[in-house]
Symmetry: C3
Subunit: 319 residues, 3 copies
């Protein structure tokens, strides 16, 4: 089946999901990002690769943090960035999603960065853009429903490669609310593409999707067993709305069972790294002593995230 995010030369036309991408495309993104890490360290943090391009941040779901990372990445590539908080504009005037896209494409948009509460919305947009506006317009999925958050998966892979060098001898645990997490899904795809031999998911039954073993992961319900000997611990954010719902007894209870404390961290390898996509709920999914501890690489994740987004944007614009 044709992968809708590749062009006819098999190059990345859109970034919608890591699912179905081959290792050489993923490695090319990581390698490109590595060159951009240096740009943000410079005195003048800009390269002219996207000069005169128009990048539209289309956030149908509010996320200042993610929007900011894309805005910074685009700005450091010298693009012109337009932020559209769509919730309060055209759609409230009854205009359809695709009419909005058509209009912005008619203004010669070069790239859409799309965050949407509905899984699949960026696919719909990419398909429409391909049909009506041609190969000059690119779509990046900045998180759609529970489905995917591919730049997060890529920045997490980048971070692991930075600290562990080789993927092919690692054991990685993903902990928490797997069920509702697009981050977990994108992380699992990234790790599998890059050859991680053992991926574990750890969480209560109510927060694990049925049949997740079929994704090729090992399922654990206890931290004591799941964290034993792992090289990488990826904590997930527990959404506030879950804590109030029927899926969980209480935040305190969750922390007792699945919150990452120094004691639980000691079960992992001594040089294990701790990751979190942010924003963190300190004292719920992670203890401050761990979040701010020596094994935490949570802030480097953010730094590498800018480089990954610069890499994806420059690769798409070049294809």
């Amino acid at each position: 089946m044709h992968n809708p995010q590749l062009n006819k030369h098999g190059e990345l036309q859109h970034l919608l999901s890591l699912d179905g991408l081959n290792a050489s495309i993923v490695r090319h993104i990581l390698d490109t990002a590595q060159r951009f890490v240096g740009v943000s360290d410079r005195d003048v943090k800009k390269v002219p690769l996207l000069r005169g391009k128009s990048v539209f941040n289309l956030f149908f779901e509010n996320s200042t943090r993610t929007r900011t990372t894309f805005e910074i990445a685009a700005t450091r590539l010298s693009a012109d960035v337009i932020n559209l908080n769509i919730g309060v504009s055209s759609t409230s005037k009854g205009e359809s999603l695709l009419d909005t896209i058509d209009n912005l494409a008619a203004m010669h948009a070069d790239m859409f960065v799309v965050r949407h509460a509905q899984s699949g919305a960026p696919y719909l947009i990419a398909k429409h853009v391909d049909r009506l506006h041609g190969p000059e317009v690119h779509v990046i999925n900045a998180g759609d429903g529970r489905h995917a958050h591919p730049t997060q998966g890529l920045l997490d892979a980048y971070t692991i490669r930075h600290y562990k060098r080789d993927f092919t001898n690692l054991t990685v645990a993903i902990v928490g609310d797997i069920l509702h997490s697009r981050v977990a899904r994108s992380d699992i795809h990234a790790l599998q593409i890059l050859g991680v031999p053992e991926i574990r998911v750890i969480g209560p039954r109510t927060l694990l999707p049925g049949g997740i073993e079929q994704m090729g992961v090992r399922v654990f319900h206890e931290m004591s067993a799941g964290l034993k000997g792992v090289d990488v611990i990826m904590m997930l954010r527990l959404q506030n709305e879950r804590m109030k719902g029927a899926l969980l007894p209480s935040a305190q209870e969750f922390f007792r069972s699945y919150g990452l404390t120094p004691e639980k961290l000691a079960l992992a390898k001594p040089d294990a790294i701790v990751m979190h996509p942010g924003p963190m709920n300190r004292g719920i999914e992670i203890d401050s002593a761990v979040a701010d501890g020596q094994q935490s690489v949570i802030l480097p994740q953010v730094t590498f995230g800018i480089a990954i987004r610069m890499a994806v944007m420059s690769i798409l614009a070049g294809n």
Copy 2:
């Protein structure tokens, strides 16, 4: 009487309305826009004409779409753009409109793009700016109440010229809610200035202003008669609030009588073009088969709209 939007050399100082502009000024804007159409097609979509200028988008009435077109136009001219959503700021602190303008002018604003729910607000601002802040500061009306939306009138004229070349043998129909439409008013002025011999307005009595014939247009209440043999059909947006009010029986009823369907479109000349200022209410004022059909030039209108706004901004800044 002195036209408040011209300077003492008869050049455009502000763009407040098309009413009272002569054909040579309007043609100069269209010709300038024609040169800018190419800029948005380039790889680097920027020219340095407004480099270092400060353009303020003052939207006292929310309109993401229109604001975005001005932001893109200014950015492609290399201006610095500041977006002010005034509804939520100073005026809520009790500051007067003109105090806000004075403050921004004191920050060395070069251009104000003003959208306001009250007819005449941009005139008030322009007059105040002329008196206090001198000829370096320019005002563009981006839509004021029911009064005028001159850049829309200009981009519509540009679109018609693009497809029909000559204005002096055309019959143009404007359809729908003429009463509340600043777009209709600006379109009529543009078409008359450029020599269109027959302009028709079509709509129910409740949505046509009394005495509109005095603007030099022919009035029709039936699409069957009004669309016969026309070269251009300009549909207007039906505001949601009209549909709920006493002015209309229902949206379905409106569509049946005035919605542009393929059948009604067949009454016009075979090469007639269909226009709409957006955002469209599909199934209310226009059928999707027409909106997305071969005779629709709705997306080119958007594209030309960027070029028109670049033209107006660069002409004002140069005068």
Copy 3:
């Protein structure tokens, strides 16, 4: 005691308060601003001093006007500016203030401009940044609670120097709601540092902080006595919420006693200047005849405010 806003060479690392700064630092800012006043008058209002730097406007308390002045100042220095309206983003997701700062610092922020309803918040941020992110990251206080608004104090000092040349023979009156005013506090510090021999505060007992005499100012409750012979009158904004509270009988009553009218202005020296930080409540703390009169320097304050903010940003970035 170590001043937390100075680096180990005694240079300005952050601008948090004027309290504790020496006259040579303050004069250096004013002198630098003087060179920037010319930049905003140029045809191309930009200098490349902050090119490629990322400036974050962190407004935890909404203030379009102040945010705009910092945005313009940073843009004219060629910085990339990211506006974060924090009220609606991360903090609503339960992320702590310092986690937000850590994240933005990890994106290689160069400068934070912070407005916060809580006194001391910018200090907390600066201390945290110093410890975790090193000397490359700078913090500017854009107003914190009732505590300080140092760039306002500096621009007021600049304005007085512009019109009066020498500080050491001046009598300055600050009028109105001293109790809740961070502007008043920063003005008093600026004037004392620069050697103003007599600073008066004028207001009702309910709007004067107890023990304010210990700041070295003279207290007056009547305009008739307080304005006599002064060179400079600095009016303060009366917050709407004060007018509704128990602190004041009514807005009309306040205007009668403390509103600056031409009659009261006549008590000051004939060449006295009138200042106001904006936004003004005309008819409450100031009469329009005075606000728009010959002695008013309220709009020049705004103009100089851009230059002051450019000066502070460029000095911090250079240290």
